[in-house]
C-alpha cells in the first residue's frame, strides 16, 4: 500500500512539472462549459419551459455536473500506456515488484484528485459568474446511488482505456488511434459529455444503453438529477457492473498475452 502512496505522490509532482499544460487543459474545459451553458441557456430562456424532460434548472445543473463528473471520470494518466508499450518502456515496471495495473490506477487517481480540486474551484467561479439555478439533490439514497455509479464509471473508463492501450503489443504503430477514438469521440458524444443523451431518438438510446459509454457520464448525472426510477437505476448499475467486469477480465487476458509477445523493443 505504501508503494502506491509514493506513486501517487510522485505522479502529483510530475503533473506540476507541466503546470502550463495542465492549466491550459483546464481552461479548455471551462470554455467548453461556457459554450454549452449559453447554448442551453438560450434554449431554456423561459423558466417554465420543459424540453426532453429537462427544465432550466436541471439542464443547467447537467452542464455544471459535466464539469465535475468529467474531471472525476475522464481525467487519466493511463493514456501514456500505449506509448510506453510501443517504445518498450514497460520494461522499467516489469523489472520491479509493482503491479502495472495498480500503478496506473494510482496515477489516474492522483490525476483525478488534482483535476477535481481544480474543477471544484472552477465550479465556484462559474457559479459566481453565471449564477445558474442549480438543482441540489437531497435524497440520501440517490446520493449514495450517484457515488456508486461514479465508482462504476471510474472502473469502466480505466479498463476501457487500458484495454485499448494494450493494442501496441501487436501493432506497435497503433499506439494512438484506438485510444483517440475511445477517449475523444466515444466519450464526448456517446457518454453525454456535450449534451444529455435522452434528447436522442429512442431507438438510438436503446442501443446506446447496452454499450459501456453512457455509464461514464450520462448515467451518473441522471441518477443525481433524480430522473431515473429505482428499477432503472438498478438495471443501469447491473449493465455498468457487467461492463466493468467484462473489460477488467479482457484487460487482464490481453495483458498476459501481450507479455508473451512483448519484445522489449528499442534494444
Amino acid at each position: 500500500m505504501r508503494k502506491y502512496l509514493s506513486v501517487f505522490r510522485i505522479s502529483f509532482a510530475q503533473e506540476f512539472a507541466y503546470k502550463i499544460n495542465f492549466i491550459l487543459w483546464r481552461v479548455r474545459n471551462v470554455l467548453q462549459i461556457f459554450l454549452v451553458f449559453y447554448l442551453w441557456d438560450t434554449v431554456f430562456q423561459d423558466p417554465e419551459r420543459v424540453v426532453f424532460g429537462y427544465d432550466r434548472a436541471k439542464i443547467l445543473t447537467y452542464v455544471f455536473a459535466i464539469l465535475v463528473v468529467k474531471a472525476l471520470v475522464l481525467s487519466a494518466r493511463a493514456v501514456d500506456v500505449p506509448g510506453e508499450i510501443s517504445r518498450g518502456e514497460v520494461s522499467n515496471y516489469l523489472l520491479k515488484p509493482i503491479g502495472y495495473f495498480k500503478y496506473w490506477l494510482t496515477r489516474d487517481l492522483s490525476s483525478k484528485a488534482l483535476n477535481l480540486s481544480f474543477a471544484v474551484f472552477e465550479f465556484l467561479l462559474l457559479y459566481i459568474l453565471l449564477r445558474p439555478p442549480i438543482f441540489v439533490q437531497t435524497n440520501p439514497i440517490l446520493i449514495v446511488a450517484f457515488i456508486i455509479s461514479i465508482l462504476l464509471a471510474l472502473l469502466i473508463f480505466f479498463t476501457l482505456l487500458f484495454t485499448t492501450g494494450l493494442v501496441p503489443f501487436w501493432v506497435p504503430e497503433g499506439a494512438w488511434g484506438l485510444q483517440f477514438m475511445v477517449i475523444f469521440v466515444a466519450t464526448e458524444f456517446l457518454a453525454g459529455g456535450l449534451f444529455p443523451l435522452d434528447i436522442l431518438p429512442e431507438s438510438i438510446q436503446r442501443v446506446l444503453f447496452y454499450t459501456p459509454f453512457p455509464y461514464l457520464i450520462f448515467f451518473p448525472i441522471q441518477v443525481y438529477l433524480g430522473k431515473l426510477s429505482s428499477p432503472e437505476i438498478l438495471r443501469g448499475m447491473v449493465v455498468a457492473l457487467f461492463w466493468a467486469t467484462f473489460l477488467y477480465l479482457l484487460m487482464r487476458n490481453l495483458w498476459q498475452r501481450g507479455l508473451r509477445v512483448y519484445q522489449s523493443q528499442g534494444r
Partner: protein
Amino acid sequence: MQRAVLVDHLLKDFEVTQKEPGLAGSVKSLFSPKKKQVHALRGISFSVMPGELVGFIGPNGAGKTTTLKILSGLLYPTSGLSQVLGYEPWERKPDYLKKIALVMGQKNQLWWDLPAIETFELNRAIYEIPKKQYKETLDELASLLEVEKLLKTQVRRLSLGQRMRLEFIAALLHKPEILFLDEPTIGLDILGQEKVRDFVYDYNRKYGATILLTSHNMDDLINLSRRVIVITEGRIIFDGALDELVSRFAKRKTITVYLNKEIDLKEMESIGKVRKVQFPQVVLSVPRTTAAVAAAEILQNFPVGDLTIEEESIEEIIGKVFKGETVSKSKTR
C-alpha cells in the same frame, strides 16, 4: 555451490514484420504483412556461479541483450530452461525482482521532469527498502559515483554521463544480488567510462554480486571480466577465460621488422600481409603456424636490423569476434 544462473538449451524466436521502403511498401504491408521468424537464440547453455563477473561479447544482433532480457524476466523464452537464483525469471515473482537489477545503457528509468532523488524515493517504496538502509546505500553509492551534488537537479538538465551514474543508483538501491548490465558505458566519454567501470568492479568485489555484462567496449571486457561468453547468431561459440579466448582465436602473429635500408615491398608481400609501413619499420601479419618460417625467411632475404614476433592484441581479437570473423566458416548470410 548453488549456481546463480543456469541456462540450458534456451531458445527465443521473434516474429518481425517486414516492410519494403516507401509509400508503396507501406500500403503493401498494410494488406499483406510479410512476417519473418527471427531466431534470436538457437539453444544456448551456460551457468554462472555466485559472485562471478561474466562478459558477453559478439556482433550486433547476436543475442546478447535478448539473453539478459530473458534472465531478467522481460521476455518469455520460446523453449529451454532459464533459472536465476532458483527462480523462473518470466514468472516475475516479487521476491525475485527484489534480488535483481537490469541497467540498459540506452534506456532510462529516472523521471525526466523531476530530480533523481524523487525516483530514488519511489524505488525505496516499491522495493520496500527500510529507511535506514536506504539512506546508507544512497550515501554510499552517491559518493562512490561522485554525484552527491546532482541528486536534486532535474534529470533533463543532466549530461548523459551524470544521468548514467544516477541510473546506476536507481537500479542498485535495493542491493540486488544479480546485476545485468547491457552496454553500461555506451555513449560515455573516457572519464565517464572509467568511473562506471571502476564502480562495477568495486560493486562486484564489495558485495559479492553476480554480474552479467554485455559490451561493445573492449576496455570494459579487458578490465572487468575474467570470463567471457562469445555469442554469434544466437549460439555460444566460446565460454571461458579471456586469455584462453586469445590463444584460441589468435590465428595470426604479428612480425615487426626494422630494416637497415629500403627494399622493394612487393618481395615482402609474398611472405605475409603487410599491415603497416613506416620506414624503417614494417609490420607484417602471418599465419600463426608458419610464423617461425616466415621470420627465418625475412632474416635471410632482407637487410634486417631487428625483428620481433608478437601475438595479436586482445583488442584485435575481440574486434574480430565482434565482426563475426573468427566464427565458423559455414556461416550463412
